[in-house]
C-alpha cells in the first residue's frame, strides 16, 4: 500500500512531524501538498465535476458547483469553508448518502452515483467509514460490538468480527474499552472508537464530519492525531472542520465557498479565504 513518505505512524502528531516543510510550521496552512509519489497509485476517492442543486425554481439552491477532487491512499484532506458553503453536502455525496445532481463519485474505482441502493450499502460496509460530530456509536452496543457492526452486517461470523474489532481497538490502544457501552465512555473515547469502526475490515476511506466539534481542544487533538496516524498507515481521509488548528493535520486543505472550491493549496491563509480574499493557485 502506498504510504505518505514523510508520515509514518511512529511520527506522532503532525505539527511536530519532521516533514520536508517542517520549518514552515506551526502554520500548517503553508504545508506543501503531498508528494507526487503518493499520487502514482489510483485515488481512493475521486469527485468529477460534482454539482448538487437543492430544490427547484425560486427555492433552488446550488449546494455544489463542479467540484473536482482526488484523494489518494495515505492522504488526509481537510475541507474548510463558511456555513452553507457545501462542506457537509460534499461529504454526504462522497459517502453515497446523497446523490449528486450531476458529476460522478468514484470510490475505489466504482462510480457510486450509478450503483443501486443495495450495492451502495455494501460499499459503505466494505469501503467507506463515517465519523460524525457526535453520537456516532449505537447506544445498545459495546465498543467492540460497534466496531464489529459493519463486519457483522456483512455476514461475517460474530466471533470473527469481534476478533477484528479487538484488533482494531488494540491498534488505537483502547483495548480496555472493548466491553463498555457508549454511555460509559468519554466523548473523546467515543470518537476514537468511531474512528476505529470507520476503518475496520478493508475500509480505506474515512469521511469525518467535524469529528472534534463536540470535544474540548485537547481531546480533539488526540482524535485528530489518531486520524492522522490511520492515514499514515495507508487510509485516505476527508476531514470537514471549521478550525484551522485541526486543518493543520491535513496534507491538503480544500476551501469551499458557495459550493465552489476557491483554493486547494496551502499557500494562502485560511483567514483570507474565509473573508473572500483567496490567492490564486
Amino acid at each position: 500500500m502506498p504510504r505518505h513518505p514523510h508520515n509514518s505512524p511512529q511520527h506522532g502528531p503532525r505539527p511536530d512531524a519532521d516533514a520536508p516543510h517542517a520549518s514552515q510550521r506551526p502554520s500548517p496552512l503553508t504545508a506543501a501538498p503531498s508528494p507526487n509519489s503518493a499520487r502514482s497509485a489510483d485515488p481512493v476517492l475521486r469527485l468529477v465535476e460534482l454539482t448538487r442543486v437543492h430544490g427547484s425554481g425560486a427555492t433552488e439552491v446550488q449546494a455544489l458547483r463542479g467540484i473536482n477532487l482526488d484523494l489518494f491512499p495515505g492522504e488526509l484532506v481537510a475541507i474548510m469553508g463558511p456555513s452553507g458553503s457545501g462542506k457537509s453536502t460534499l461529504l454526504t455525496i462522497a459517502g453515497g448518502l446523497d446523490k449528486p445532481t450531476s458529476g460522478s463519485v468514484i470510490v475505489e474505482g466504482t462510480d457510486i452515483t450509478t450503483t443501486d441502493r443495495k450495492s451502495l450499502a455494501a460499499l459503505r460496509r466494505r469501503s467507506i467509514g463515517y465519523v460524525f460530530q457526535d453520537y456516532n456509536l449505537i447506544p445498545a452496543l459495546t465498543a467492540a460490538e460497534n466496531i464489529a457492526l459493519p463486519r457483522e452486517l456483512d455476514g461475517i461470523s460474530a466471533r470473527k468480527a469481534r476478533a477484528e474489532a479487538l484488533a482494531a481497538l488494540e491498534e488505537i490502544g483502547l483495548t480496555q474499552l472493548a466491553d463498555r457501552f457508549p454511555d460509559e465512555m468519554s466523548g473523546g473515547q467515543q470518537q476514537r472508537v468511531a474512528l476505529a469502526r470507520a476503518l475496520v475490515g478493508d475500509r480505506r476511506l474515512v469521511l469525518a464530519d467535524e469529528p472534534t466539534g463536540a470535544l474540548d481542544s485537547e481531546t480533539g487533538e488526540a482524535v485528530l492525531a489518531l486520524l492522522r496516524s490511520r492515514c499514515d498507515a495507508g487510509a485516505a481521509g476527508v476531514l470537514v472542520t471549521h478550525e484551522p488548528r485541526f486543518a493543520a493535520w491535513a496534507d491538503r486543505v480544500v476551501f469551499l465557498r458557495d459550493g465552489s472550491v476557491v483554493d486547494q493549496t496551502l499557500r494562502s491563509s485560511a483567514d483570507s479565504l474565509l473573508t473572500g480574499q483567496a490567492a490564486d493557485l
Binding site: 460524525f132 464489529a148 457483522e152
Partner: protein, 949 residues
Amino acid sequence: MKTWFHSWRAAVRIARRDAWRFKGRSFLVLAMLTLPILGVGAADLTYRSSELSVEETLTRDMGRSDARISDPELGGAPLYQGPDGNGYRPVGDFENKPYPEGPADLEKGVPAGATTLEDSTGTGKLRTSYGLLPTEIRELKASDPMAEGIMRLTEGRFPQRSGEIAATTHFLEAGKLSVGDSVTARGLDTSYRIVGAYELPSDLNTDQVNALPGTFLAPLDKALKADELPGVESSTTHLVKISGGFTWNMVKETNKHGLVVTSRAVALNPPALSDVPLYQEAGESPYDSGGGIEDEEMVILATVVGLAMLEICLLAGPAFAVGARRSRRQLGLVGANGGDRSHIRAVVLAGGLVIGVASAVVGTVLAFGLTVAVRPLMEEYLGQRFEGLDIRPLELLGIALIAVVTGLLAAIVPAITASRQTVLASLTGRRGVRKSSRVLPVLGLIATALGAAIALYGTTLSSQVTLVAAGSALAELGVVAMTPALVGFFGRAGRWMPLSPRLALRDAVRNRGRTAPAVAAVLAAVAGSVAVATYAASDDAEQRAKYESSLPYGAVSAVVDDGDSRDVPAVRDAIQKNLSIDVRADVDRVLVGKAGCRMYYGGEDGCGSVEIAVPKANVCPLWAPDVQDAELEFSAAERRKLMKDPRCEENNDYSGIEAGILIGGPEVLDVLGIKDPAAKTALADGRAVSFNKFNLQKDGKVGIRLIMDSDAAQEAISDGKEAPGEVKSIAAHQVKGDPRSYGAEVLMTPATAKAAGLKTAPVGAYYSTSALPSSEQQQKLNGDLDKLGSSVSLRVEQGYVGDSNTTLLVLTVFAGLITLGAAAIATGLAQADAEADLKTLEAVGAPSRVRRTLSGFQCGVVATMGVVLGSLAGVLPAVALRLTERRSAMEMFQESLDEALGTPSSPYTPIVIPWETLGGLLIVVPLVATVLAALVTRSNGSMGRRAVT
C-alpha cells in the same frame, strides 16, 4: 443463508439491548402480548389436566374392581349393550309394545369364581345443624380393597359397624358438621355418628353419606313406609372382581340375564364393532361422545384469536413505531455503516421478535404458575380433582408462538416505514413528508365493499347469520385498512378550530402513518363493542316485548314441588316472615290416594293423578285424544280455520299445581287480581270458581276426574277414549270477562272440596306484596327455604328484568379502556415527533400551557376519530344482523301460518341503538382522553440538545 443469520444476530442484539434500555415501553408491549398467552395457556393446561384417562375414570367409578354390574330394570329380559355399558336395549322387537319392566336378579349375572361388593344408593333428608339437607345415602363397604379409589378419605375412617357413617366434605360444609357429630334422617329415629370425611374425586359437590350395606337405606325405607310416606328409592349395583378381567364374552353372557356391565377390560380394549350385537343386530350406531372441538367452534376460536391478534398488533404497532422513531439516529448510523434497508427492517423487526419471545416465555411460565395456583379453585369449580398437571408441549408451543407471531406482525409496518427513510434523513433528524400507502385504502375499499355485499346477501337473500357475520368481519377489516384515508377527511375540520386543537388535528392528519394504527385500534375495539351493544339492546327490547308475567306484578307464589305436605306450613311461614306481604292465600291441592302421595306421581304405590274432565265438545279438535297426527288428519285450510277457534287458543300459563285445581279461599282471587264479586259469593255458597269456560259441563258444573290406574288411562287415551276414573261434579261459577288466571283452572274452598268427596293436602300459597322484595330479602328467604330441605318453586313477579345492562356497561368500559390506551400510545408517538414544533412555538412566545393542551388534543383527536368511525362501523353490522333475524322470523311466521301448526304470534324484531353506550363512547371517552393526556404532560419541555437516540 449464513450471511443472513449473522446480520440478524446483530439486529437481535441491538433490539434486545434496546428493549432493556426502554423498560417502560417494552413492559407495555410485553404485557399486551403476554396476557393472551397467559389466559390461553392456563386454559389449555387446566383443560388438559381436568381430562381423565379411561383408566383414571374407571378407577373413580369402580375402584380396583374389574366391572360394575347394574340392573336396568327390564325384568331380567336378555339385552344387548354397548361396550361402555351406556347404551342398551332388550333383545327382540319392541316397535309396538313397551319394554318389559321389573328388577332382574343381580346374583345371576355374576360369573363363577368372582367376588362381589354391593353398592347401593338412595336419597333421604338428613337433619344437620343448619336444617334438612337432601342427601345421597350410599351403602358401600368403602374400606374393602375393591372399592379403593372410589372415595378418597380426607379425615377419620370409613364406617365399620352399623350406626356409623362417613360423609363427603361437601356435606359436612353444607350442614356445618364435623367428624364426631351425629346426624339423623327425617322419618328415622336412629342417629348415626360421623366417623370420617371423604370426597368423590369426580364429584366434589355431592352431598353424600356412606354407610355399611343394610344399615341405613333399609331401616329408613321401613320407617317411612310405616308412616304412610313414600319409601326410599334406591338402586343397587355390584362391583365384581375376577381374575383375568371381565371379558367381552362374559359381558355378553351377563346380558342374557338382563343385566348391564361396565367392564374395565372392555373399556380399555373395546371389541370390534362387528362383535357388538347392539350395533349389528339391533341396528343402533355407536354413540359418538364427540369430545373433540367441532369445526364451527374451531372457526369461531380462530376468528376470536385472529381479531385479538389484530387488536394487539394495532395497539403494539405504534409502540414499535415510537421505538423506531426515537432511535431514528441509531438506525441512521446502522445505515451509514453499511446497513441496507433489509438490515434496518431486521433491527425493528427484531424488536418485535425479542418482545414476542419474551412474552411467550413469560406468558407460558405465568400460565404454569396460574394453573398451579388456581388449581384447587378450579377443582372446586369444576367439581372434580385433577390427576396431576397434564402438559402438552406442542399445544403450549403453538400458543406461545402466537405471541412471537403477534410481536413480529406488530413490528412489520414500523419496520418498513423505518427502512424507507433515507440514511441522511435519519441522521439529521429531518422530518420528511411521510406518504401513506395508496394501495392499502384501495384494498380496504375493496374489502369493505365485498364484505358489505356478502353481509347484504346474507341479510336479504339467504338469512344466514354466519354469512352476515363473515361479511361484517371482512368489511370491518376493510374499514381498518381505509383508516389512513378516512383520517384525512377529519383534517378539513381543522380550519375552524382554535390553535391547539388545530395543530393537533393537522399533525394527526399529516402523520397518518402513526395516527392510523392507533385510530384503527380504537375503531376495531369500539366497532366490536358497539355492534354487540346494539345487538344486545335490540335483543333486550325484543325480550321485554315478549315477556309474559307468570303472576300479577308484585305477586309471589310458592309451590312445594314434590308435594311433601309436611313441609308446606313452614314454607308458607318463611315467605310471610321474610317478604313484605299484604295478602296471604294458602292453597291446597287435590290428593289422590294415601296421605304420602305426591303430585304427578300417579300409578305408584297406591297413588293416582287428577285432571279436569273437559266436555268432549269443548276440546280443540286438533288436540282431541283420538287425533294421532293433526297434520295428516286435517288439511292446512282446516287447521288455519281451527286456529281461530277459541278452543284452540294456546295458553302457556302454568300454576305448578296439578291440573290447575286450587283449593283455597277468596284471598286467592285477590292475589290473582280477579275482580268479580260474584266469584267470592260463589265460593261462600260452596260452589267452585271456573276460570276457563271450556271446562264447564252443559249443566254448569265442572268435572274433576280422579285416575288411579295410570296405565289404563294411557291405553284409553291412545285408543281415543276417555281415561277411566271417578268424576266428581261440582257446581261452578264462571268468572266474567275471561281474565288471566295464571294457570289456575278451578278454585274451590276446602269445605267445597270435602263436600264433593275430594281429599286435599297443603301444597303452597299465593301472596300479594306491598313492596317488591329486595335482593337481601330474597337471599334471606332462599337461605331459610334451604334449611327446610324442601324443593320449593318460588315465583316472584318483578316484571321484565333484563341482564343486558351489565353487558352494555362491560362493553363500554372495555372499549373505553382500549380507546384510552391506543390514544395514549399515539400521543406518545406524536410527542416524540412534536418536540421541534413545540420549541418553535415556545420561541415565538406561546404560553407554556400550549404544550399541555396540544398533547391533550392530540390524544383527544385520536380518540374522537376512532370512536366516531368505530361507532359507524359497529352499528351497521348489528343492524344487518337484526334485519337477518327479522327476515328469518318473518319466514318462520309465514311458514307456521301456511302449515297451520300451533298459533304463532307475529314476530317482533326491533332495532334499538344503545344511545347510552354510544354517548359514553362518543363524548365521555374522548373527553377523558383529552384531560388525562393534558394532565400527565409536563408543561415545560427540556431545551436540551437533540435526543440521544
